[in-house]
Symmetry: none
Subunit: 210 residues, 4 copies
DNA sequence: CATGAATGAGGTTTCATTCAT
DNA sequence: TATGAATGAAACCTCATTCAT
């Protein structure tokens, strides 16, 4: 599934980007993640990217367009593994138990998150402030994924592995638990380096919970 | 424990605040929570508070001082319940099992979070961008709480209720799980109203997981 | 009637303008008249007025607001003499013949134009490019004056002094003739100093046609 | 005399203009007339013309060159009818009375103006702001026409049809009257569609004064 | 204490123009 | 010849902050 991400990576990022455009994107990601969208100035991005300020606006009509150009692909990539055709069957045969499914999902999305840490950080930080982002998120996650997961929940409920409560409650709880954990673990805690008194480095441990 | 919060409330918030000062704080909280610190202008806050632009700076030397004046108290209130003297004994007698302790803590901090939603939102949103905030957080949470919790972990480890891994690992996992959940459940999901297709209202359910 | 203009002058211009505001208006009039609205930069106006650029925007939210603040009063002043109550009677007794009325009007508005030359110039130059200006003009000139003049035309038609064609045709012809003349004479020709080979100066001659 | 205009049309406009050049000119005329020279951007012209931004500058070194390329021909065309050799004789035999001459001139130049409305509009709008334009105008109108008209005035003064005042005064008055009228009638009034309550359409009436 | 006019640095964006392709 | 990416100066405008009243 990882290679899935990869192909989409190429499709979305590599598509027809001039050299300077790439530099702009990279610089913007760095600065947005570090200081936040509002607190980052376009002149700063330009300087870091080694281009003239005007160049940014040739490629992205506004500063917000630049934000969207950064954040939209990570949404697309985020949903990719859920879009596999006939999801139900595939999962059915792969994962007898919900726990297996959840484990796999956690693992899979954790990898994704680590690989796209700064971009996801920007997305999570900025989503509350930009209606456009909310809309994008709704389209990608809401309308595309939610209904698939709903079926999935019902499937496992039929198998008696999930209690009989509304699917959206299951979803809400699961989402809060899994993504809450990922966000806290990889995006909030790492800022608090002071906590790491013993082992410093972020060993790419593969255990599910560390 | 709720009344505990309350006393501190008075101590910190009510202490010598002029009428205009209160209006400023309220307006600032509203705007910061809605648009973020950087994207909120002081003139906007002044207008919403019904005071002159200069008045803000009479009370808070800089815009960042205003942010700190808002965010510092919620940190203080957040740690309050952990500061009870002789925490060990108290907890020891109250909670035979870790699960009970965790349940109580989750419940207690959930109440706190709900009561201070906008302010906590601001704190969580802005902490990554302001070294001063990180420092404050470190002082409050890090140095005051962490060592207490460490002892607590060791206490439950001695009782055989927690496996023998470094205390900081236990802390990290627990923190990620509990606060990740709270953040996702109360600060991220509520933005996505679209998800609520069936039951709309946020019934103040008291079950631990909803 | 001249003193009429004057009182309005005070009312509109002098009303509550800070010292710097006046300087800004004066500088803006000068620059707009000389180079046109679009070709004049706010920084230029600020420099000429001896104020910071930000000061302009404290008083006029946008550059266009500044233009309107300059141009709106001259419209108001322009219509003033037509707003005298019971216009019909007054004119009736004053001017037996249309020619007398037209002469008086030409003379009167000529004085006005000369006294407000730069501002009127700006108005005439910019009106084609700004829908807001057109709207203002329509309100002031169109709806207020046109109907009064219509009655006037009918009045003189009854007296047999104007041929029986639609009032708006009379108005259009008269307006074109009188104001076309004034514009050409006082706003276009003076730019062509080369033509004045003999007598240079613009003596404030009072003959009706010179 | 109309066909006169035509030949010059070909001479000036058609001379060696590539397809793209024509499109650029047409787009520029449209935009300049609508928004003014300063408020029109070259990129806008390029887009409207369907050419690359750089293409404009391949043909016209600067934006102002483009303006001149548009405005210079209409000046040339404007003077054309006055340049007929032996003007004096021709006019002498054609028009016994000044009134006839003026009538013919008004009629003739009105046709010209209507046929070239957008370009003349640009010329009239921009002339006050561009010394180069004033210079061009002076060369064309001033030095070429003025002296011819001076003779004409003297001719009619000798015939006793014009009072004995300096020729330049006659010229000024006549110019103001005729061109003021044309400008007001065809370039200012048409912007005020609100005035046309009765007859909407601009019937190409041929009466001298409508 | 409170005000709000004033500031000037800095923000985003536009624009005429150049130049390698 | 035509293109359009790149430029950087300058445009309009915002903002946190100061200070005389």
């Amino acid at each position: 599934m990882t290679d899935h991400d990869f192909k989409i990576d190429e499709l979305v990022d590599g598509e027809e980007l001039t050299d300077k455009q790439k530099k702009i994107i990279i610089s913007a990601i760095e600065s947005f993640a570090e200081k936040g969208y509002s607190a980052t100035s376009t002149s700063e991005i330009a300087k870091k990217a080694g281009v003239a300020e005007g160049t940014i606006f040739r490629h992205y009509k506004t500063k917000k367009d630049l934000l969207l150009a950064i954040v939209a692909p990570v949404m697309a990539k985020f949903v990719a593994p859920f879009i596999i055709k006939d999801l139900k069957k595939v999962l059915d045969q792969d994962y007898e138990h919900v726990e297996d499914f959840l484990k796999a999902m956690l693992e899979n999305r954790r990898e994704f998150l680590i690989k796209n840490l700064p971009t996801v950080k920007i997305l999570v930080q900025e989503i509350p402030f930009h209606p456009e982002l909310k809309e994008l998120f709704k389209e990608h996650i809401g309308l595309r994924i939610y209904e698939r997961l709903e079926k999935l929940v019902e499937h496992y409920q039929e198998k008696g592995q999930i209690i009989e409560i509304p699917a959206y409650s299951v979803f809400r709880m699961t989402f809060s638990a899994i993504f809450g954990y990922l966000i806290a673990r990889y995006m909030i805690l790492p800022e608090a380096e002071w906590m790491m008194r013993q082992r410093q480095s972020g060993q790419s441990s593969s255990s599910c919970m560390d």
